[in-house]
């Protein structure tokens, strides 16, 4: 269910607020010095699991691979009962139908990348068709990419319009807009791109495709959370956040949760408004959960790799 829409009264994106990199680094360093222990840690780890968009985006994806991944998403570590499932499975449009069937009845969402992911270098008709295909096959969520080339050459209207068009093609599916922050380079640009995406109708803003470095850093995610905060104050509409790529262990994931908690508060600390785009994070979280329970670390062999 989508709440945001394409807005008519938009600010001048050329006058986007400035972001001070040094100040951001200082603030994010503070989040990383929070001490999360015991009950708080266990609660946080379980939240992290429930916020994962378990992802496979390989050229060599097959139905077999996708089905096994879906099973993992629903049965993360059955040896330890009472664990949540992931939030969603994220795949290419061609695999949406397979995934949708595989997770039937579990409540897990299907997210599909689209718009000529990951480059976005394709004609508009192709991107819309890509999106509609995914939606028709049952995608609950669409993860689109923006045209970074157009953005960096200053054509903000183009980027706004393409997001609005994909939003329309999404229908009732929720739209995540991938900014590919690694290509935007500066935090000022990340802020600008975030604002464009939200005013154009994004339900989520997402850092990266996961195909290039750097992906989701604390600094970039923080900048986007601040953009979400200002947008909420200005319009009353919530937009979700998805850092993707680079969050491979529990420590980083918990730092991110601390950051969300202290920036946006409890309203965003659930998988309706916050997701981790990750593939290997889940097993590290499971390992930490087992360590909290039993007091020692098990070898990675005890956790299935799908």
């Amino acid at each position: 269910m989508t709440l945001n829409k394409t807005h008519k009264n938009v600010p001048d994106f050329r006058l986007s607020p400035t972001v001070d990199k040094v100040g951001v680094e200082e603030r994010t360093a503070r989040f990383q010095s929070r001490s999360i222990k015991n009950e708080s840690k266990m609660q946080g780890l379980k939240m992290v699991l429930n916020m994962i968009d378990l992802t496979t985006l390989e050229g060599k994806d097959t139905p077999g691979k996708v089905r096994q991944l879906c099973y993992k998403g629903m049965h993360l570590h059955d040896i330890h009962p009472g664990l949540p499932t992931v939030a969603a499975i994220c795949v290419y449009p061609s695999m949406v139908g397979i995934a949708k069937k595989a997770v039937e009845g579990s409540g897990i969402k299907i997210a599909s990348v689209s718009t000529a992911f990951p480059s976005g270098q394709a004609p508009m008709e192709v991107k819309i068709a890509d999106t509609k295909f995914a939606v028709e096959h049952g995608a609950d969520e669409i993860d689109m990419v923006i045209s970074r080339g157009k953005f960096l050459s200053g054509d903000y209207s183009f980027v706004f319009d393409e997001i609005a068009a994909i939003k329309e093609a999404c229908g009732q599916s929720r739209l995540k807009v991938i900014l590919e922050t690694g290509e935007l380079a500066s935090l000022d640009q990340v802020r600008r791109a975030s604002d464009i995406a939200m005013y154009a109708g994004a339900d989520f803003i997402k850092t990266s495709t996961g195909k290039i470095q750097p992906a989701a850093t604390m600094q970039v995610t923080y900048t986007m959370l601040c953009a979400i905060k200002d947008f909420y104050r200005a319009t009353g509409i919530k937009v979700g956040m998805k850092p993707a790529g680079g969050i491979s262990n529990s420590k980083l994931a918990l730092h991110n949760l601390v950051m969300v908690k202290e920036t946006l508060g409890n309203g965003w600390l659930n998988n309706e408004w916050f997701r981790f785009g990750a593939s290997s994070l889940a097993n590290d979280v499971l390992m930490q959960i087992m360590k909290q329970e039993t007091g020692h670390y098990q070898s990675p062999d005890y956790f299935s790799i799908d």
Partner: protein
């Protein structure tokens, strides 16, 4: 389920709470009673009297501290003089540097212990003590160790010499750090020291005394005499003290200046402040808000250079104030020993009463108070962070130093107006400037009458960076090459 249209407010209460994460203190052994440190030994005070030092977070007694007074000060100054005449002034500069370096290393090795002691005695958070106070204190010794044998380079073509015996009096807001700021440059320049820590926070200085003794520093080079105001006065008035260095309140600073008038004692004073933190409309607003918060709530606002007067350009005032209020709601006030606490205990009952008095004054003056809704512990001296809007230049809370977590907010329209308002104060210690425009920063730094000006940041310290004020914030500089001059003659 998400509502269709929500009130744009943020819920920072409850939800995923951080479990208590207290620092372990089992490795710290406090004695029941601490003596004076004179001539390389711990000795009982002539008065045979002791006073209690309390933990402001729990109101419990931590230990008894020796009450030193004039006879003890006399012994200490004599010891310092002997050490200066017979040993320290004759020692090659390079060797002096080695002692200072050794003290720095020992401080580093015992950093964890010092951190806990500082937090218990002063009420400051363990996180700040661990990440800021103790590392900076060590670094001051490391930094000045290097200057000991390079004074010719600091003052080329001059033949400089130490002054002799330095009497030093330090405050309670950064007990160990202030001791480092005083002792390190004094030793590096070849002086000997008699130091009096503040009466509410003597413990870390006494731990430092143990470190100094363990370092093998010759007897009498550093002496520590604990006590109250009278003990400090005895140091200031002692005829054989060549140099007085004081950090503390402006009112006591004035007394000291009167006391040394007519003598040939050299004096430096680092006093109070009511520093302006200035936000322009092109500032990175979220980072500026962080800077404001660091400026006034760091160390519970017990900072001489605290950014206690916020000036925000009127066109962005609503946004900044709203964000400030949001940010206040996410600050944790509580047990200083918990690693997640942001704001610890107020140093003493007296200081808490002073702060509360000013909050009342602010309310009576018609300013609008906003107070964080956080919980505070039942016991102990705690104060929630507060900001006042609708404050005028002539409000008392905008003029007088409160020395607590209380921020006053004023608006301005133009750069000339804010320069005038920022300078319109008897104090002149520090200022902060937040803008994206580099030329504006340079313009302001030449026009603001403040000894330290931070651009797009606040409360950043380094041993290599000189610190000190204009006007009633004092004179003389500590830190850097500038910090050497006030301990030397022949410049």
């Amino acid at each position: 389920m998400a509502k269709q249209q929500e009130q744009p407010i943020f819920d920072f209460s409850g939800g995923w709470d951080y479990s208590p994460s207290p620092e372990s203190i089992s490795h710290v052994k406090l004695k029941e009673r601490y003596e004076l440190f004179i001539d390389g030994k711990f000795v009982a005070p002539k008065s045979k009297k002791y006073f209690k030092t309390t933990n402001p977070a729990t109101e419990q007694t931590l230990a008894e501290i020796a009450l030193g007074n004039e006879p003890d000060v006399d012994l200490a100054v004599k010891a310092a003089r002997r050490a200066y005449d017979n040993v320290w002034s004759k020692m090659p500069a390079k060797e002096r540097g080695k002692y200072i370096f050794r003290i720095a290393r020992l401080m580093q090795e015992r950093a964890r212990e010092l951190t806990v002691v500082e937090s218990l005695d002063a009420g400051k958070t363990i996180r700040e003590a661990r990440d800021i106070d103790i590392p900076l204190a060590c670094n001051h010794f490391f930094y000045y160790a290097g200057w000991a044998d390079k004074l010719d380079y600091a003052f080329p073509n001059r033949k400089v010499a130490p002054l002799g015996v330095a009497g030093q009096i330090i405050p309670w807001n950064f007990p160990l750090l202030m001791a480092a700021w005083k002792i390190a440059p004094a030793l590096a320049t070849g002086n000997t020291v008699v130091l009096k820590p503040a009466e509410t926070t003597s413990l870390s200085a006494l731990f430092l005394a143990e470190i100094i003794r363990d370092s093998g520093l010759p007897d009498g080079v550093v002496n520590i005499v604990t006590g109250f105001g009278e003990t400090g006065a005895a140091i200031v008035h002692h005829p054989d003290v060549n140099k007085v260095a004081f950090t503390g309140s402006t009112s006591v600073g004035k007394l000291i200046q009167k006391a040394v008038a007519g003598t040939d004692k050299k004096l430096t004073l680092e006093l109070g402040g009511k520093s302006a933190n200035i936000i322009f409309d092109d500032a990175p607003i979220d980072q500026a808000v962080e800077g404001i918060v660091n400026g006034i709530f760091f160390n519970q606002g017990h900072v001489c250079c605290a950014g206690s007067r916020l000036f925000v350009q009127e066109s962005v005032a609503d946004e900044v104030i709203q964000k400030l209020k949001d940010r206040l709601e996410t600050l944790y006030v509580g047990d200083p020993l918990d690693k997640n606490t942001d704001i610890g205990a107020i140093n003493s009952k007296e200081q808490l009463e002073t702060i509360r008095k000013y909050i009342e004054i602010g309310k009576n003056e018609g300013a609008t108070m906003f107070e964080s809704s956080c919980a505070i512990p039942e016991k102990g001296y705690f104060c929630k962070p507060v900001l006042f809007t609708d404050v005028a230049q002539s409000s008392r809370i905008a003029q007088e130093e409160i020395f607590g977590p209380v921020l006053t907010v004023q608006t301005f329209r133009t750069i000339d107006e804010v320069i005038q308002k920022a300078n319109n104060s008897p104090y002149g210690l520090a200022a902060g400037v937040w803008t994206d425009k580099g030329s504006r920063i340079f313009n302001l730094t030449t026009k603001l009458r403040a000894g330290v000006i931070w651009a797009n940041t606040y409360n950043k310290f380094d041993p290599a960076s000189p610190f000190g004020g204009y006007k009633e914030s004092g004179f003389g500089r500590e830190g850097g090459m500038h910090g050497l001059g006030s301990y030397l003659k022949g410049i």
